[in-house]
């Protein structure tokens, strides 16, 4: 029996003006799976997660089909996809800087509590996951460090009851110690039932936590497979892990 993926996209194409930034025939993330998408700058990693949510700070032309639990999301605006349980933690600005941590964690929209597969995290749950946020709960978003903002970004998404989480470069700008802390937290979230698509430039760190790895180049998938196998993929090993392949 084939298990239906939680998140699936087919014939996903994104173009800025006449330039095609992404052209994927198929990508899927299964239940409780952590899929890593790696690639060089400009490979289309962020474009991929943004397109899955139908969200962008620019104005790209997006076509293709995005399914969440078999439900077609393609025609829905970003906020409807979010309410359906597809959450994106973008690269760059993650939190509302003029609001306190507490306010950032207060949900401003009604989140359905009766949908199977969606886990609901209370404020106490996310404080238990990120005790640092509890200590900083009265501080403004603008007063947080990069690592704290990353934690708050993830915590904010968890408060919205995710079915699948899209994480865009959570390690960017973080100290090496924090990178592994953040990625291990993501791993623990997956182990507790979440489904995650992780975009990451730090392949060395990502390959330690993901179940499967997808390698993007110029907007196309050029290799994919279980993390254990991809570690030995010559392209990955040479270009991203610093191994010398004879």
């Amino acid at each position: 029996m084939t298990i239906r993926p939680v998140l699936e996209a087919t014939d996903l194409k994104v173009a800025y003006g006449g330039n095609v930034a992404l052209d994927l025939s198929h990508i899927a993330v299964r239940e409780r799976e952590l899929v890593g998408v790696v690639g060089a700058n400009g490979a289309g990693k962020s474009t991929l997660v943004n397109a899955l949510l139908g969200w962008s700070r620019g104005a790209p032309k997006v076509s293709g089909k995005v399914m969440l639990d078999g439900r077609d999301m393609s025609a829905l605006p970003p906020h409807e996809r979010v309410r359906s349980g597809l959450l994106l933690i973008p690269e760059g600005k993650l939190v509302f800087t003029q609001m306190s941590v507490e306010e950032n964690l207060a949900t401003s929209v009604d989140v359905p509590h009766d949908v199977q597969g969606r886990r609901h995290y209370s404020v106490d749950d996310v404080y238990a996951l990120f005790p640092r946020l509890y200590e900083r709960r009265h501080h403004l978003g603008s007063q947080l460090s990069g690592g704290e903002r990353q934690m708050l970004g993830i915590a904010r998404a968890l408060r919205l009851g995710p079915r699948a989480l899209l994480l865009d470069e959570p390690s960017i700008g973080l100290a090496p110690r924090l990178v592994s802390t953040v990625l291990e937290t993501v791993r623990s979230l997956v182990d507790s039932g979440l489904t995650v698509l992780l975009v990451e430039q730090n392949v060395r760190a990502a390959i330690e936590v993901v179940d499967r790895l997808v390698l993007l180049e110029r907007g196309r998938i050029i290799a994919e497979g279980p993390a254990s196998e991809m570690r030995d993929n010559p392209r990955i090993a040479e270009a991203y892990l610093g191994a010398h392949v004879a």
């Binding site: 949510l53 969200w55 700070r57 605006p77 970003p78 906020h79 979010v82 309410r83 959450l87 994106l88 933690i89 973008p90 600005k93 993650l94 509302f96 800087t97 003029q98 609001m99 306010e103 207060a106 949900t107 401003s108 929209v109 989140v111 904010r156 919205l160």
Partner: protein
């Protein structure tokens, strides 16, 4: 010159200015948008109230919500028409479209209400209080009380309620707000509708102080512009303080120098303030 009388005049005028400007303050603060049809929306609010009281025989307190309802409808229609421009933040087109909307409102109002001046008489505008040399109408007192209550309620809603948090999320970053599940289009529609209601309320309260004409509106836009910029874009508290300051300045300048130059002097103050504090009088950027 009676100093106390001018102080009272300034306080009343200041609260009137703040009340007229509050809709635009929220519009700018939340949606980063301008509405140059604001003055004509004020005119429409005044005329709907007048029509309700004088022609339909409605009590003043019924005519006010009627004017606010019409204001909500006008704001909603306006935003529906230019939703795409709003989402693209195409400010030049929005300025032109809202200016055009103002002229359409002016024309429609002249057609419906006629172009002769009218007096909006209310139960408060005909009652005076004399205290020594001091003179004030009940309408003036109503303006001050309504403005204080309205600003306090608005500040509470913005700072303490879910709807206020939604507005602040959209104000800070509409794209990020979408990722929190916020329907940004609906917030924009709500803000325009609020502006329509707020300016209609201001008109219903302030317009009884002077004769009303369908050609009015320009002065109200100018006053609003000065208050909003002086107060700091989007700052509710700043708008209140700036409105009050402008009212006091206008009253005293009019008494000491000449009312004829009060608007020019207000703009001179605006320029001076903006040179010293480009963000306006608000305590800090983004202050509410």
């Amino acid at each position: 010159m009676n100093f106390t009388q001018q102080l009272v005049n300034g306080i009343v005028l200041g609260h009137a200015y703040a009340l007229i400007a509050i809709g635009w303050t929220v519009l700018l603060g939340v949606a980063r948008l301008v509405n140059f049809g604001h003055g004509q929306m004020y005119m429409l609010g005044a005329f709907v109230t007048w029509y309700g009281v004088s022609r339909l025989g409605l009590p003043y307190f019924v005519a006010i919500p009627l004017a606010m309802l019409i204001g909500v409808a006008v704001g909603y229609v306006m935003q529906r028409v230019m939703l795409q421009l709003t989402l693209k933040q195409d400010l030049v087109s929005i300025m032109i479209v809202t200016l055009g909307f103002g002229y359409v409102l002016h024309g429609a109002a002249a057609l419906f209400f006629g172009s002769t001046g009218q007096i909006l008489e209310t139960p408060f505008s005909v009652k005076d209080i004399y205290w020594g040399d001091l003179w004030i109408t009940y309408q003036d007192i109503a303006i001050v009380i309504a403005a204080i209550l309205f600003f306090a309620a608005l500040k509470y809603v913005i700072d303490r309620t879910r709807i206020g948090r939604l507005a602040r999320m959209v104000a800070e970053d509409p794209q990020l707000a979408q990722l929190a599940g916020v329907n940004v289009r609906r917030v924009y529609l709500g803000v325009f509708a609020f502006e329509g209601a707020a300016v209609a309320l201001a008109a219903a309260l302030v317009a009884p102080r002077t004769p009303i004409l369908t050609s009015m509106g320009f002065d109200e836009v100018i006053i609003t512009f000065v208050v909003v910029v002086l107060g700091g874009i989007g700052s509710v508290t700043g708008s209140y303080v700036a409105g009050l300051a402008l009212g006091l300045f206008t009253a005293f300048f009019g008494a000491f120098v000449s009312p004829a130059y009060a608007t020019a002097a207000a703009f001179a103050v605006l320029i001076a303030v903006l040179v010293v504090r480009p963000g306006g009088l608000a305590v800090s950027p983004g202050a509410r």
